[in-house]
Symmetry: C2
Subunit: 241 residues, 2 copies
DNA sequence: GAGTTGATCTCGGGA
DNA sequence: TCCCGAGGTCAACTC
């Protein structure tokens, strides 16, 4: 044991007390801790759930995030989001208990068996950069409004209405108000409903007699979406990000 | 080295080749592998992104799932969902490269430095059980339809319409068609729009003159949701799961 | 703090 | 296979 904690520490088949110590130490140092072992999980909060005994991977982040992963799937089987308070104790002599408390609930992981515990302090986080998002699509439309239609003139982005913010708000070549809803992926009826709400709200806002066009811009739409658009008098323009 | 792979193996400050071997072995045995190290990530697919050098935790599951976690937040910074093909190679002498291929894109993780690699074979997955979901709320309504209103009679669940499936479809005390949309949480305008689409579709489906009531059942609604409901002639019933 | 929407959303169920 | 909506969604941004 040294006063200066190691940047990385690993325990194999640890005693629960040793694992608890490592978790306590990690809380001081801001380390990320990964545990492998056989455990049960109980959650109570916005919903409640129980996971029977199984081999799982548990990841504890210094911001309070706790993720319980089983061997399949992208989604954690159980979790607590950032802001949770974590506490590691030993129940009896051989059970490590991880208790995570949040305003909206409690998560408890009980390890019947522990195979690995690894802690790793993080010195720096790299920069992250993503392209191909909806905002990129919007920028493309603003740079070249004719992608929507010839003569389209954008006047505002995220223009507020009583039904929420319109992605791109503008006028067509004949001066009619146009609401554009952008989607980077093929969309279903929900996108048509979203646009419909904006158009209805704008028509109520502006004048009772105002004609407002609604244009859904997306790579493609489902049949039902097309139906919904048609029923609401809305238009579709295909644009692939 | 034995012919029978260990159920659990850990490497500390491993050579990249040793880590690659462990990843290859894990592919055979169906083990979950967790890596700690300094890495960069490049993703190209539905979008594209780059993560600069940083200390991260990488989790590889036998179903192809790959998750790259930084020290904050619930969401992985980068990922590949199940079904991806993974390959571990060594670039030069000191860089472990994890390459994950999917139909819709490629994810590459390059480790400049590796602190831990741990593999753990999974013998069994515990049962999982959740309560407090929307389906539980629906069952409650079916068991006691008066929670919606006195005289309400459910006739179908997930009743199909041209706009999608209605949560609970039924009749009120006076024989009018009722579409019920259930939400387990406080809801915004999107839920009102969803219900509106169903009601509109039902009115088109049944008769031009048919009156169809739409009732949103949720713990509470936002102001805008209430406005949208009112504008569409829809109703709200408060019910807490 | 609440409201609104996006997400490389993922996931499960049904046609 | 695609479509559709739920999710203990989470996360970002605005008011």
């Amino acid at each position: 044991m040294t006063d200066v904690p190691d940047a990385a520490r690993t325990l194999v088949d640890p005693m629960p007390t040793a694992a608890a110590d490592l978790l306590d130490e990690a809380r001081e140092t801001g380390a990320v801790v990964a545990l492998f072992g056989r455990c049960t999980v109980d959650y109570d909060g916005r919903a409640s759930g129980h996971l029977g005994p199984g081999d799982r991977h548990v990841l504890c982040k210094p911001d309070g995030t706790l993720l319980v992963h089983d061997p399949e799937g992208h989604q954690p089987e159980a979790w607590h989001a950032a802001g949770a308070e974590r506490e590691a104790t030993v129940d009896g002599t051989d059970t490590l208990v991880l208790r995570s408390e949040r305003d909206d609930g409690t998560l408890v992981v009980r390890f019947e068996a522990l195979a690995h515990v690894a802690a790793h302090t993080v010195e720096s986080t790299g920069e992250t950069e993503v392209t191909g998002t909806e905002e990129d699509l919007r920028q493309r439309v603003l740079d070249d409004p004719s992608l929507v239609e010839a003569g389209f003139r954008p006047l505002a982005v995220e223009r507020e209405t009583d039904a929420g913010p319109v992605d791109v708000y503008g006028e067509d070549a004949e001066g009619r108000t146009v609401a554009v809803e952008l989607k980077r992926r093929r969309v279903g009826p929900d996108a048509a409903g979203q646009l419909e709400r904006y158009v209805d709200a704008l028509e109520r806002d502006l004048h009772a007699d105002a004609e407002v066009r609604g244009i859904l811009v997306a790579p493609s739409v489902t049949d039902r979406c097309r139906q919904t658009l048609a029923a609401a008098g809305l238009e579709f323009v295909s644009l692939t990000p």
